[in-house]
C-alpha cells in the first residue's frame, strides 16, 4: 500500500510538468498576445495606438522573447522562487492573486464534491429501495434538470428570479461589510449564508448521474443471493442494507470522484463568473481572453494540481474501501 502511494506521488511531478507545458503552448497559440488584446480594447474605447507606441509597449511588457525561453524562465522561477510572474491585466504579482483566490476555489470545489456525494448517495439508496415511488421519479426529474440545463444559465435565471421576486441578492459570496475585511468567525458565518447557492448550482449537474448509478448498482446488489439469504435468516432490513449492499454499490461511486472533481472545478469557473464569486473562475476567463499569459498559466497550473491531488485521494480512498484493488492482480 505504501509503495502504491509513493509511486502515485512520484508520478505527480512529471504529470504536472506535462500539463504546465501543454497549457503554456495552448495559451500561446492564438495570434497576438496580451498587448494586441489590450490595444484592441483601447482602440474600441477610442484611443489611437501608433506603431511606435506598440513597439514601446511590447518592450515594456517583455513580450518580445521566444516562447520556450519564456516557459523555461517561468517554470524555473516557480520552482526556485515561488515566483509565478506578473499579471499584466491586474498589475500585480500572480502569486498574490493566486493566494487571494485559490483557497476559496479549493474550498468551494471540495465542499461541492462532498455535497454532491453526501446528497447523491442517500438519494440513490432511497430511489433503489423505493423503486418507482413518487419521490424516486421526483428526484430523477430534478436530477435531469440539473444535468441538462447549463450551470451558468441556471445561475443567471435564478439570480434574476431571486432578486426580482424575493429580494435576495444571491451573487457574490460576502455581504458588503465583509468583502474587504480580514477573515473572522463572523465572516465565515456571513459566507455560509450565501455559499449554499453556488454549491447547489455547481453540484446539481453532477448529481443526476451519481443518483442513477447508485440506484442501478444498489438494485443489482439487492437482487443477489446473499441478500435473500440474509433476509431469510432474519436480519433487519436497514442494518442489512448498510452493511453489505451499499458498501459494494458505493465502490464505483467512489471511483467516479476521479471525473466528478474535474467537472466541478470546471463548472465552478462558469458559475462563479455569473455569480461574481471571488474565486479563480472570473479571473481565469478574463486572463485567457486577454492573453494575460502568466496569470492564466498560473491558475490552470493550480487547478490542475487540485484535480490531480483530488483524483489521487479518490484512488487511495477506493483502494482503502475495496481490498481487491489494493492487491492488484491476484496471482493464483
Amino acid at each position: 500500500m505504501l509503495g502504491y502511494i509513493a509511486r502515485r506521488l512520484l508520478l505527480l511531478i512529471p504529470v504536472l510538468f506535462a500539463i504546465s507545458l501543454v497549457n503554456f503552448i495552448i495559451l500561446e497559440l492564438p495570434e497576438g498576445d496580451y498587448l494586441s488584446s489590450q490595444i484592441a480594447e483601447l482602440e474600441a474605447s477610442g484611443a489611437n495606438v501608433s506603431q511606435q507606441e506598440r513597439e514601446a509597449l511590447r518592450r515594456q511588457y517583455g513580450l518580445d522573447q521566444p516562447m520556450i525561453g519564456r516557459y523555461a524562465t517561468w517554470i524555473g522561477n516557480i520552482i526556485t522562487q515561488g515566483d509565478f510572474g506578473r499579471s499584466l491585466r491586474y498589475d500585480q504579482p500572480v502569486s498574490e492573486l493566486l493566494a487571494e483566490r485559490v483557497p476559496l476555489t479549493v474550498g468551494i470545489s471540495l465542499a461541492t464534491t462532498f455535497f454532491v456525494f453526501a446528497v447523491a448517495i442517500p438519494i440513490g439508496i432511497y430511489s433503489a429501495t423505493h423503486k418507482y415511488s413518487f419521490f424516486d421519479y421526483a428526484f430523477t426529474f430534478f436530477g435531469f434538470i440539473g444535468i441538462s440545463v447549463p450551470g451558468f444559465l441556471l445561475a443567471l435565471v435564478l439570480l434574476w428570479l431571486c432578486y426580482d421576486k424575493l429580494g435576495w441578492n444571491v451573487s457574490g459570496l460576502f455581504s458588503q461589510q465583509y468583502v474587504d475585511a480580514p477573515w473572522s468567525l463572523a465572516k465565515i458565518f456571513d459566507m455560509l449564508k450565501k455559499v449554499w447557492f453556488p454549491i447547489l448550482l455547481i453540484g446539481l449537474p453532477g448529481m443526476a448521474g451519481l443518483i442513477r448509478v447508485m440506484r442501478a448498482n444498489l438494485l443489482d446488489e439487492l437482487e443477489k443471493q446473499y441478500v435473500i439469504t440474509a433476509r431469510a435468516k432474519g436480519l433487519q432490513e436497514n442494518p442489512l442494507l448498510f452493511r453489505y449492499p451499499v458498501r459494494i454499490a458505493a465502490n464505483p461511486i467512489v471511483s467516479t470522484i476521479g471525473w466528478v472533481l474535474p467537472a466541478i472545478v470546471g463548472g465552478e469557473v462558469l458559475v462563479s463568473i455569473v455569480l461574481s464569486l471571488p474565486t479563480t473562475g472570473p479571473v481565469l476567463l478574463d486572463a485567457v481572453t486577454s492573453q494575460d499569459l502568466y496569470l492564466a498559466a498560473g491558475i490552470t497550473l493550480m487547478l490542475s494540481l487540485l484535480t490531480i491531488i483530488g483524483t489521487l485521494v479518490a484512488d487511495l480512498l477506493l483502494a482503502w474501501l475495496d481490498p481487491r484493488i489494493r492487491f492488484g492482480k491476484v496471482e493464483n
Binding site: 484592441a40 474600441a44 501608433s50 514601446a56 439570480l159 474587504d180 455569473v274 471571488p278
Partner: protein, 664 residues
C-alpha cells in the same frame, strides 16, 4: 444579448457626432428657476460669493485635516450652469443633495469606460460637449482665446487651482508637460497628432509660449480651427496631456530622480531594467491626455483634477472618493460633486451585470444595453423600479467595409469600381435591417452618409452592365479573371448585432449573384489581421454622428477599407499606396474640416463635403443612421435624463456625473 462594445464606441461616436447634430438641434442657455409647482431650480443671475461644501468635508475641516472650502477652491471656480454639462431640455439641473455613494458594476479589472468618462475633465468645454457653435468655455483653464487665423491659442489658468492632494497647479506643471514629457523623445517617441497644426502628421508640433505665471500660449505652424474641439471633446481627451502634476511625476523622471532609484522601482514593477529603459516606469505611472488610467491601479496616488479620486482597489471592487479640491461649484456656490463617492464592483459577466443593474443593485446601466432589451427595461421603468432613458448613440454600430487595398488585382479591379459598390448598396434592404435590429423606430435609413435606395433589379442590371454578367452553374457571378467572385466577411463580435447583420448582408448580396460568406473571428486575432491588411471585408463601426467635430476621422480610409492608403497619408507618401483622386479629396476635406473653426458655418460646409463624398462614392456601406439605445438609472439618482428617443447623446449623460445626486 447585450451589446458589449457600445460603451467604448459610444464615447467616440458621441463626440464626433454631437458637434454637428447639436448645432442643428436647439440647446437652451441657462434657465432661471422653474416656475409653478416645480422644485426650485437655480438662481443664475449672479456669481456665487459664498461657498458650501459636503458635510463629510466640513467635518474634516473642523477636525483640522483640510483647509476651509474657500481656500480649496480656485479664486474663480468654475460655476456649472444648468445646460452646460447636459442640455436643460433633458436635465433641468436642480440643486442636489450632498452625500451617498454611487454603486456601479464594471466588467474589466483594467478600467471602466463609464467611470473614465465621468472623471474626465477637458481643458475647455462646449455646452453638452459638442455644441461648439454656442462657444466653448474654459473648464480646467479659466479662459481661452484664439487669434484671428487660428494659429495661436492663449489659455488663462485658474489661480488657486489645486491638485487633489492640495498642491497648487502652476505654470510649472504645464512646462513640465511640454518640456519634460511631450518634447522628450524617450517618453514620447510619437508626438501626439492633436497637438500638431491641423491634426496633420506633417505639421510641426505645438510650441509652448509662457506669457506669464498664469497664461500660456500654444502656437501652430498652420491654421487649426478645430483645436478647441480637439481639446474639448474629441476622443474624450482630458487635461492630462497639457497639465501634469510635476511634484508627483518628477520622482519617475530621469532628470529629477536618481537612476538607481528608478531602476529599483522598475524592478519592483517587473518592467525592463536598464538605464535606457527608465521611461517605461514613467509611462506606467503617468496619465496622458487619454486619461483611462485614472480608473486603474496606476492612478493610486496620482494627483488629479477630477471629481472623484481612486482610493482603493481590491480583488473585487474599485472605490472612489470625492476630491476635496475639485474646482467646480453649482450656481448656489455648493462645491461639486454632490455624491460622496463611487463604488464599482467587478462583475465579469455582462449579463449578470445588466441583470443586477435592472434589479436596482447598481445605479446606472451605461451603454451596455441595446434596443433589443428596450422592452424589458421599459417594463421595469413602468413598474416604478427605475428610470428609463433612450438617448442617441454616437456611433453607427454596424458599418460594412470592403478592403479596397487588399493585395489581389482581381479583387481590386472589382471593388474599386464604383458601379460595383452602387449595385451592392442597392441590394441592401436597409429598412429590413432597421426593423430587425432597431425595432423599426430606433434608427433611420441613411440620408447623409450613404444612399438608401433599395432596388434589386437595378442592382442586377448594373452588375450585368459592368461586365459581371457571366455566372457559374450555381448562379454566382464571375469576376474579371473568369472565376466565381467572392466576398469573404471576417467579422469579430464587437457587439451582439455584428454577426447577424453581416449574415443579413451576405444574404442580400448572395441574392444578386455575388457569393458572400461570413466567418466569425476572435476580436484580438481580428485586430491583428486588420492592421496587417489581411481582411477582405468586414463590419466594424464609424462615428458618423460626430464626424463634424473633427475628432473622429473615420470618414478617412481606415484599416477596414484602405489601410495602405492610410499608411500613405500617415507617412506622407513614404510607404503605403497612393490613393485614387476621390480618396485624396477626402483628405483635402479632412484638412479643411480641421482648419476652420469648430461649430462654425465653414465647419458645416466641410462636413457636408465629406458626407457628399461618401454618399456619391459609397466608400463604406452604412446600414442605418441616428441610432438610439436604452439605458437605466435606479430611482435614487437625481439630475439625470428620463424619456424615450431623446435627442441627446447618451455619453454626455455619463460626462455629467458631477451634477448627479443621490435622493435618499
Amino acid at each position: 444579448m447585450y451589446e458589449r462594445e457600445i460603451s467604448r464606441r459610444h464615447f467616440l461616436v458621441l463626440a464626433a457626432g454631437s458637434i454637428v447634430v447639436v448645432s442643428c438641434g436647439g440647446n437652451e442657455e441657462a434657465q432661471e428657476s422653474g416656475g409653478g409647482g416645480q422644485p426650485k431650480g437655480f438662481d443664475v443671475s449672479g456669481t456665487p460669493t459664498k461657498y458650501r461644501e459636503a458635510p463629510m468635508l466640513a467635518e474634516r475641516v473642523k477636525a483640522g485635516d483640510l483647509p476651509p472650502v474657500e481656500e480649496r477652491l480656485p479664486k474663480e471656480p468654475h460655476v456649472v450652469q444648468p445646460g452646460e454639462l447636459i442640455s436643460t431640455d433633458f436635465v433641468p439641473m436642480r440643486p442636489g443633495k450632498y452625500g451617498g455613494e454611487l454603486r456601479l458594476g464594471q466588467e474589466s479589472p483594467a478600467g471602466d469606460p463609464i467611470i473614465f468618462v465621468a472623471l474626465d475633465e477637458a481643458l475647455i468645454w462646449a455646452p453638452s460637449g459638442f455644441d461648439f457653435a454656442k462657444g466653448a468655455k474654459g473648464n480646467v483653464v479659466k479662459d481661452w482665446e484664439a487669434n484671428s487665423d487660428n494659429t495661436a491659442f492663449t489659455f488663462t489658468m485658474r489661480e488657486g487651482l489645486r491638485w487633489s492632494d492640495g498642491e497648487p497647479v502652476t505654470m510649472e506643471d504645464v512646462r513640465f508637460a511640454f518640456e519634460d514629457v511631450l518634447y522628450n523623445e524617450e517618453i514620447t517617441p510619437d508626438f501626439p497628432t492633436y497637438l500638431r497644426g491641423n491634426y496633420n502628421p506633417a505639421a510641426a508640433p505645438a510650441k509652448l509660449d509662457v506669457v506669464d505665471d498664469w497664461t500660456f500660449r500654444l502656437v501652430f505652424d498652420r491654421p487649426y480651427g478645430a483645436f478647441p474641439a480637439q481639446l474639448g471633446i474629441a476622443e474624450w481627451r482630458g487635461y492630462g496631456g497639457i497639465i501634469k502634476p510635476k511634484h508627483y511625476l518628477k520622482q519617475f523622471h530621469k532628470k529629477y530622480a536618481s537612476a538607481a532609484k528608478l531602476q529599483n522601482e522598475a524592478r519592483e514593477m517587473a518592467l525592463p531594467e536598464g538605464e535606457d529603459q527608465w521611461f517605461n516606469l514613467f509611462n506606467a505611472k503617468q496619465l496622458t491626455e487619454w486619461m483611462w488610467n485614472a480608473t486603474t491601479e496606476a492612478a493610486l496616488g496620482h494627483p488629479t483634477l477630477m471629481p472623484w479620486i481612486l482610493k482603493q482597489v481590491d480583488s473585487s471592487s474599485f472605490t472612489y472618493e470625492r476630491n476635496p479640491y475639485y474646482f467646480k461649484v453649482d450656481p448656489n456656490g455648493s462645491q461639486l460633486p454632490y455624491m460622496d463617492g463611487i463604488r464599482s464592483e467587478l462583475v465579469q459577466d455582462k449579463e449578470a451585470l445588466t441583470a443586477r443593474t435592472l434589479t436596482g443593485e447598481f445605479d446606472y446601466l451605461g451603454e451596455r444595453a441595446s434596443v433589443r432589451q428596450l422592452s424589458l427595461i421599459k417594463e421595469k421603468a413602468e413598474r416604478g423600479e427605475g428610470k428609463l432613458s433612450v438617448p442617441k448613440g454616437h456611433t453607427i454600430p454596424t458599418t460594412v467595409f470592403l478592403n479596397m487595398t487588399y493585395e489581389d488585382d482581381n479583387w481590386r479591379q472589382v471593388v474599386r469600381d464604383l458601379r460595383f459598390r452602387q449595385a451592392l448598396s442597392l441590394a441592401i434592404n436597409r429598412q429590413e435591417i432597421i426593423d430587425s435590429f432597431y425595432l423599426g423606430e430606433f434608427a433611420k435609413v441613411p440620408k447623409l452618409s450613404n444612399p438608401n435606395e433599395y432596388d434589386v433589379d437595378k442592382a442586377n442590371q448594373i452588375l450585368d452592365d459592368m461586365g459581371m454578367d457571366q455566372k457559374d452553374d450555381k448562379g454566382f457571378r464571375l469576376g474579371p479573371n473568369g472565376e466565381r467572385f467572392e466576398i469573404p466577411f471576417d467579422i469579430a463580435d464587437h457587439t451582439e448585432n455584428h454577426i447577424p447583420t453581416g449574415e443579413l448582408i451576405a444574404e442580400y448580396w448572395n441574392e444578386i449573384g455575388i457569393f458572400t460568406s461570413v466567418k466569425q473571428m476572435d476580436v484580438t486575432v481580428f485586430g491583428e489581421r486588420l492592421a496587417d491588411n489581411q481582411i477582405w471585408a468586414t463590419l466594424i463601426w464609424v462615428h458618423q454622428p460626430v464626424w463634424g467635430s473633427g475628432g473622429f476621422p473615420d470618414y478617412l480610409p481606415e484599416d477596414g477599407w484602405g489601410p495602405l492608403w492610410t499608411e500613405w497619408f500617415d507617412t506622407q507618401g513614404e510607404s503605403g499606396e497612393e490613393p485614387p483622386d476621390g480618396v485624396k479629396q477626402l483628405y483635402d476635406y479632412h484638412i479643411e474640416l480641421l482648419t476652420v473653426d469648430s461649430g462654425s458655418e465653414q465647419n458645416e460646409v466641410a462636413l457636408n463635403k465629406i458626407l457628399k463624398s461618401h454618399r456619391d462614392n459609397i466608400w463604406i456601406f452604412q446600414v442605418a443612421e441616428h441610432p438610439y439605445y436604452p439605458t437605466f438609472f435606479s430611482n435614487r439618482i437625481g439630475n439625470v435624463p428620463q424619456g424615450v428617443k431623446q435627442d441627446t447623446y447618451g455619453i454626455i449623460t455619463s460626462f455629467s456625473m458631477e451634477q448627479w445626486f443621490i435622493n435618499e
